[in-house]
Amino acid sequence: MSAAGPPTVSEILKNGPGAGDLHIVDFHTHLGRWYQHWASEDRPDHLISSMDQFGVKTSVVHHLMGLASGDVRRGNDVIGQAMRDNPGRLEGAVEVNPNYRDATVPELERCRDEYGMRAIKLYPHRHGFHLNDRAYWPVYEFASEHGFVVVSHTGARAAIGTPVELSEAAMQFPGVTFVAYHAGPDLEGARIYGECARASSNFYIEICAPITHNLIEHLVSEAGEDRVLFGSDSLLLSLSVAIGRIASCRLSDDQKRKVLGLNGQRILDKLRNGDG
């Protein structure tokens, strides 16, 4: 424990929600299975249990089926039902696949109307389209028109799906909030993601990559402490990984609170006001 006063953020993260008050928003979670390993926890109740275990208030969630197969609709329905069953805990992201572009906008409309979903998840390297490809333009136009947030898998050195590609979209659609997942994985990556964040006020970075010791500090320094979002990649990964990285990094407690939840909550509040 800290010498005398209240527990530090790190102490709360290491010891559990009972150790103190933290507002945690997880901007990157999944339901479903994965082809490369046994996902022993894959259902909505698993995710809620994990969120409760680590004190996460709200998670942005999408389904893995639409990432790794051509069927986005079944996964989106699981997400929509999970939102209904757990009001206030889950913010569902609609998975879209630009290989089936005629179905993209109708699926966004369906998930908005049936479930109230207000986020869109992109998986460019698997679906095979650069994030600045015109194939995504109807998606971005929909997001702009209907106040959706766009979240995307990215990689600093990826062949397809770089933060620079997403940054170009962010500049073209300044009214849409874009979140680049997996910022990192090293100093050069931090510089690239930071440049993108500084170039567009609607560009945020999320930090669940296999990032090295001391890198979170560089990411916050490069992008700014208001533009970095906590994400865990659970249930693919254990929430303990992302929680542990924040626990052992050397940001100030105020910075940790912003990254863990205050920045993400600000975006969720805009979403819920229909102003993504």
Binding site: L13, Q36, S40, H46, T212, N214, L236, S240, R245, A247
Partner: protein
């Protein structure tokens, strides 16, 4: 529960040739400061010079830099003896015991590029066999990065040396998603262990403990490349009982070291 004592089985001192960020802890003092901040009591430590440049040179530098520090136990990077770079294996293990070095680490990979590149020797009987047998005679645990060894090689080593504790680490590269290959190996081999560094699936530790008990897992961070927090929180917040947490945090590694035949 009382605060857990963390004993890190996957830790190095020194500077990387090409560090991912410039300000990683590199000296003994910097490493200990990181331990104090994160809440780690002690560690097995090898030297990055031994991993990246030359095993013998790095091991010598390690002993100079650790200088008998009570919190950091030296771990040598090992080579087979055939070229004369290292002494015959039984002579080697005797020297290690004399100098308080109870564990070894190998980088056998024959790949050419970082981070998987290694010291380029086969793990077959005709190459590494005598070294592995000498370690096995003394029950000295052997550590190897997952990126340095194939699952078939893991099976072969565990089969040929059933009294050699073999610990798989994650340090050069994160290689999670282990459950499909390692579960069948754990069904066969009692002498195979896995560290807890960095990434793992949701429920990973809980499912392993349910199926195989807590004895197969060792706390390991992958410092200085990887942050210590994920391995700590993975154990401190796991949905397993307190005794299992204590075993994984430090008890299992202590038990392996106690079994070494001096």
């Amino acid at each position: 529960m009382a605060e857990l004592e963390f004993f890190d089985c996957n830790c190095a001192v020194g500077r990387y040739t090409n560090p991912p960020v410039p300000d990683l802890p590199a000296t003994v003092d910097e490493l200990l400061a990181t331990f104090d901040y994160a809440g780690i009591r002690s560690a097995l430590v090898y030297h990055l010079v031994a991993r990246e440049y030359d095993a013998e040179t790095g091991n010598e530098i390690l002993m100079e830099e650790l200088n008998g520090n009570g919190r950091l136990l030296p771990q040598w990077v090992l080579l087979p003896h055939h070229t004369g770079e290292f002494p015959p294996p039984r002579e080697l293990t005797e020297t290690m015991i004399d100098q308080g070095v109870l564990t070894g680490r190998i980088y056998p990979s024959q790949k050419m590029d970082l981070p998987e590149t290694g010291h380029n020797f086969p793990l077959a009987d005709w190459s590494a066999g005598p070294l592995l047998s000498a370690l096995e005679e003394r029950r000295m645990p052997l550590f190897v990065d997952q990126s340095q060894i194939t699952w078939d090689e893991v099976h072969d080593v565990c089969s040929r040396h059933p009294d050699l504790p073999l610990v798989l680490n994650q340090s050069a590269r994160i290689s999670w998603r282990t459950n499909r290959p390692i579960w069948p190996l754990w069904e066969i081999h009692e002498n195979l262990y896995l560290d807890t560094a960095e990434n793992h699936e949701s429920g990973h530790i809980e499912r392993i403990v349910e199926r195989f008990g807590p004895g197969r897992l060792l706390f390991g961070t992958g410092l200085p490349r990887w942050a210590p927090g994920p391995a700590i929180v993975a154990i401190s917040r796991a949905r397993i009982d307190d005794d299992a947490k204590r075993q994984i945090a430090s008890g299992n590694l202590k038990r392996l070291l106690e079994r070494v035949r001096r």
